[in-house]
Amino acid sequence: MSDAIIKVEGLGKRYIISHEQPTGSYTALRDVISNKAKGVLKKKEQLPPKEEFWALKDVNFEIKKGQAVGIIGRNGAGKSTLLKVLSRITEPTTGRIEMNGRVASLLEVGTGFHPELTGRENIFLNGAILGMGRAEIRKKFDEIVEFSGVEKFLDTPVKRYSSGMYVRLAFAVAAHLEPEILVVDEVLAVGDAEFQKKCLGKMNEVSKNEGRTVIFVSHDIAAIRQLCATCVLLKNGQVAKYAESSLVVSEYLKNKEAESFYQNKNIDTSKDAVLKKIYLTNTAGELKTTFNHDEEMVLHFELAIHKKSEKNNLFITLLDQYKRKVASSESQGLAEKMTIKFGPNFLVRGDYSVNAFIHSPGVEFVHMLDDVCNFSIIDNGSKFMIYREHDYGNVFLNTTWIYQ
């Protein structure tokens, strides 16, 4: 046997997407029965269509003991599914994983925290959920409390904690686990910079000094680079590259930039105006594809204008990751170079892209581009951070609450 601690062979995970319930609600027995009954009456081909979706397909890799491995990839590339399969939350459809050691997963901080219980009680609860015994927790209790920095509020129910405190306590518990394999998903995107540094340090210590294996998924490329020597790049459920971090990261960024930077190669001169380039920068003018939610973004358009017309405008729409329209804006007239600024605190976390077209309203479409210039928003500590599992829309509603 080699010294591989994790060996993944031909791993696949299939989901069946059923189109009968567009709302995505739960299955009810009465529906199943009534569908079966309908199925008898109708012919076979009229049954609702079902679609297969392979979230992971033929994934192979090996991880050696004491390695810290990063997993990167775009949303929907299969990162979360891979982690779920690795941590035994869900069963694979094909393939095999062999692991030599206990696995603890940190898929989301604060899982299993009960709002009614105090910080002290939650340390025990969370520890047990993550696989620690009471004796083990008791032994490490002081260390955990010290790491979290919430000593003063130990006997307060966690529902009264701020989201920062909540995350701190949760991470502190998780950081003191002693499994052979630690699986971490994006926890570092939360909390203040200082705490993030502390967490990274802790994870570094875990993998380098204690010889544990860490599997780390994050959007934070800098953190991945710092922590992981090797990296897996997932693309459409398959391993696109598994190599030294710097190589994998640069490939990932290259892909990402290619998708983010729209450039029109063959410009049609017969049209009045054509979009040449679309790209995003921060306010300092640096090209970027990933923004924090509280960062201002600048969307640049470069046009080739062949025939000036008073009537032509540029109309743009932001799309979310499901290609639903989020919001639109229209220029008044055209110029060779145009920019619009938006944010901070406008879009919520997620992946977005841009629809853009030049038109003269109600008369004709001059040039149209669909779903270009991909970019991502990361939530680095908004009030909605704690609801990251839920869909709370695409934009922050900037409201004023009046209490009477």
Partner: protein
């Protein structure tokens, strides 16, 4: 290394029960959490646990005892006869309800962490033990009020308590798994609880019942696991009750219970690996 894990589709784990044992700490803590949360926030938590059996008993005593004139031939106060049936019945209905809703109520745990899923329904039953203790205290109070001395058979009560636990845990386990897949199963549970109350010897006794059923059909009555449980409790609490364990129909109830436990564990294990995807 001692923790070798192999993940494969459809692989039933060799060390399933060992794993369950390894996670016993989680079982303690989840039970403790459920108990704590149940009685922490509500002053009514405890009051409710007292009121519920007490009020039901009063109603039953009044309706069946006074108006229908049942239990008149017995030397034992009718209230105690009813309460001896009520005790296991309430335990059964509360555990069944808690158990059936347990998985769906812990969605966030199931989709985020691995542990043997059976821990959740098992620990949810624990809270009903607390209610059981409270009811038991009321029973003792009734003994004192009526100046009633229970027979020595009362020491066998824990046996029937385990029986009651199995009778509720079995169906509860299956129902909670089905509840994950088909959410409308939760509407079935109140029905089972309500319907079961009338076919179980809570307001009446098995002796009065069997007199009215043709002997060829008595086995149907015993298919209800709670018949065995409640008869057992009555035997422990009420003087001069025949020992149900000496009559074969008791073993029909026990057999059905054990079969349901086996079936539920089998089905649960088959379904549990996909809970995270369905829930």
């Amino acid at each position: 290394m001692d923790h070798r894990i192999i993940i494969e589709p459809g692989r039933s784990e060799k060390n399933y029960w060992k794993d369950l044992w390894r996670y016993r700490e989680l079982f303690y803590i989840l039970s403790w959490r459920d108990v704590k949360v149940k009685y922490k926030q509500t002053v009514l938590g405890v009051v409710w646990a007292v009121l519920r059996p007490l009020l039901t008993m009063i109603v039953f005593t009044f309706v069946f005892g006074r108006m229908a004139g049942m239990g008149a031939q017995s030397t034992v106060p009718y209230a105690i006869i009813v309460f001896a049936g009520m005790l296991p019945w309430n335990f059964f209905s509360i555990s069944l309800t808690e158990c059936s809703n347990s998985l769906v109520g812990n969605t966030n745990l199931i989709t985020k962490v691995y542990f043997p899923r059976m821990i959740i329904p098992a620990s949810s039953v624990i809270t009903s033990f607390i209610d059981f203790f409270i009811s038991f205290a009321i029973l003792i109070l009734l003994f004192i009020v009526y100046g009633y001395m229970p027979p020595v058979e009362i020491i066998y009560m824990p046996l029937f308590w385990i029986f009651a636990f199995l009778a509720s845990f079995g169906p509860g386990l299956y129902l909670t798994a089905l509840n994950v897949k088909y959410r409308d199963f939760r509407y079935i549970i109140p029905f089972i609880v309500q319907f079961g109350l009338f076919i179980s010897p809570v307001g009446f006794t098995t002796e009065t019942m069997v007199q009215k059923i043709p002997s060829d059909w008595q086995w149907v009555y015993y298919l209800n696991p709670m018949v065995g449980v409640i008869d057992g409790f009555r035997w422990c609490i009420i003087k001069d009750t025949p020992n149900p364990m000496l009559h074969y129909p008791f073993y029909i109830s026990l057999g059905v219970t054990l079969f349901l436990v086996w079936l539920s564990i089998y089905q649960f294990r088959k379904m549990e690996k996909n809970f995270a995807d369905m829930i």
